[in-house]
Symmetry: C2
Subunit: 249 residues, 2 copies
């Protein structure tokens, strides 16, 4: 009896943890995962020294390879359909921009994936690429868990729609701020940035910005310069308003 | 009436051609295509100066980009599942070998895709890479026509099962001929190569080889040296007998 109780007690916190993990992952995915272990693997750093049931080491690196390939083919298909006039060179160049290390790091950071990393080393010591690496591994996990179509759906809904602006990538849009200002003027809407300063953890000064359109907050951002914060806030507003802007243009 | 007859007469040869093309493509695919125009595009060289209904130039180059991406992700998933002990570096290296220019050219040649090429220039002037390029474009066409799952199915059935031997790629197998000889000795089967010579079109000497196992022809090959022809015949026999060999080992 005591042994059974012990087992229950032992199992219970892990189940709770799984429950929280399941909920958080579902929220990011926009659908429910089938098999959590793929996602757990996507966040397991080599230093955690974990082994699978066959004794093979578990780490996100193999999934990163898989996710990179899936991301590459979904973006390829998107560009192929979206830009019927683009030749092979154009398509290759545009895909490189979308799946650049910098962009993948940004995505990983925005999805706050680093919170899930299991490692013997503090993830803050891994450098910036950890964000992009686990982001790719996460895509690989989606493929293993739900197949190509879900993987494609996730990349469309959560990445392409919200982060991929072809005109911007082509260099036609100079800044999102000018795009937002232009649109507000055209639509006869008032706009203003509300800026405040604060100090970050290591004494670094941050600028926080709120973008108001017709006196409503549409986006927020925080960066080490006022200009950067305004641009990021404008970018967020742009993607939030994208449908509206595209319809009006 | 005459105009209608003219129309019918005009249409008829093209329909017949489409019928032949449809049959040949179905045979290569192992299933029936839905939309032939994707496959037509996969074989249209830039020099044919064809335009689509919107006036955009048609050529296989854009499809090549798409097919390359699809092939890359299917091979990535195959390797991920097939070699659970391989790390990211191993997987990347193995994939590069499978999708090497040389290998893709071989595949394009074996599928005899060049017969479909539409061009103002004789395809023999394009050099060897035409085979690999249209092979990739063909994969792209399958994706557009039938979606990822069919694309994956085709790559598994027609490429991985018949051309991808991981041990060989790892350099563990020195030659297919020695593999076949070893297997025959182990299985107590007789084997012999039957060699004949002939002259090719431009006076080049060719060696034709038939491989007999237990006095039955299991494969044939033709090459510019006896050694090469025997190796190719052995390779074909190996893939034909693969299931059997793997079960017995």
């Amino acid at each position: 009896m005591r042994r059974i109780l012990k087992k229950i007690l032992k199992k219970s916190p892990s189940s709770n943890q799984d429950g929280v993990f399941f909920e958080k992952i579902s929220q990011i995915l926009g659908f429910k995962p089938n098999t959590l272990k793929y996602y757990e693997k996507a966040f397991t750093h080599r230093s955690a020294n974990k082994l699978d049931e066959k004794g093979n080491p578990i780490s996100y690196e193999r999934l990163e390879f898989l996710g990179d390939a899936m991301l590459g083919s979904v973006i390829a298909a998107h560009l192929y359909n979206k830009v019927p006039t683009g030749d092979e060179g154009y398509l290759t160049k545009m895909r490189s921009k979308i799946v650049s290390r910098e962009h993948l790091n940004e995505l990983g950071r925005d999805f706050k994936l680093v919170q899930f990393v299991e490692s013997k080393v503090n993830p803050s010591h891994f450098g910036d690429n950890i964000h992009g690496n686990i982001f790719e591994a996460f895509i690989g996990a989606i493929y293993l868990d739900k197949g190509f179509e879900y993987c494609e759906k996730f990349i469309h809904e959560k990445i392409i729609k919200q982060y991929v602006n072809i005109e911007r990538l082509e260099g036609k849009v100079i800044s999102y701020k000018s795009l937002i200002i232009e649109w507000c003027q055209k639509e006869k809407k008032s706009f203003r940035f509300d800026v405040f300063e604060d100090n970050g953890k290591e004494g670094i000064k941050y600028f926080g910005v709120k973008l108001f359109i017709d006196e409503e907050v549409v986006s927020k951002a925080r960066a080490t310069s006022k200009k950067k914060a305004e641009e990021t806030a404008s970018k967020r507003a742009f993607f939030a308003l994208q449908d509206l802007i595209e319809k009006k243009q």
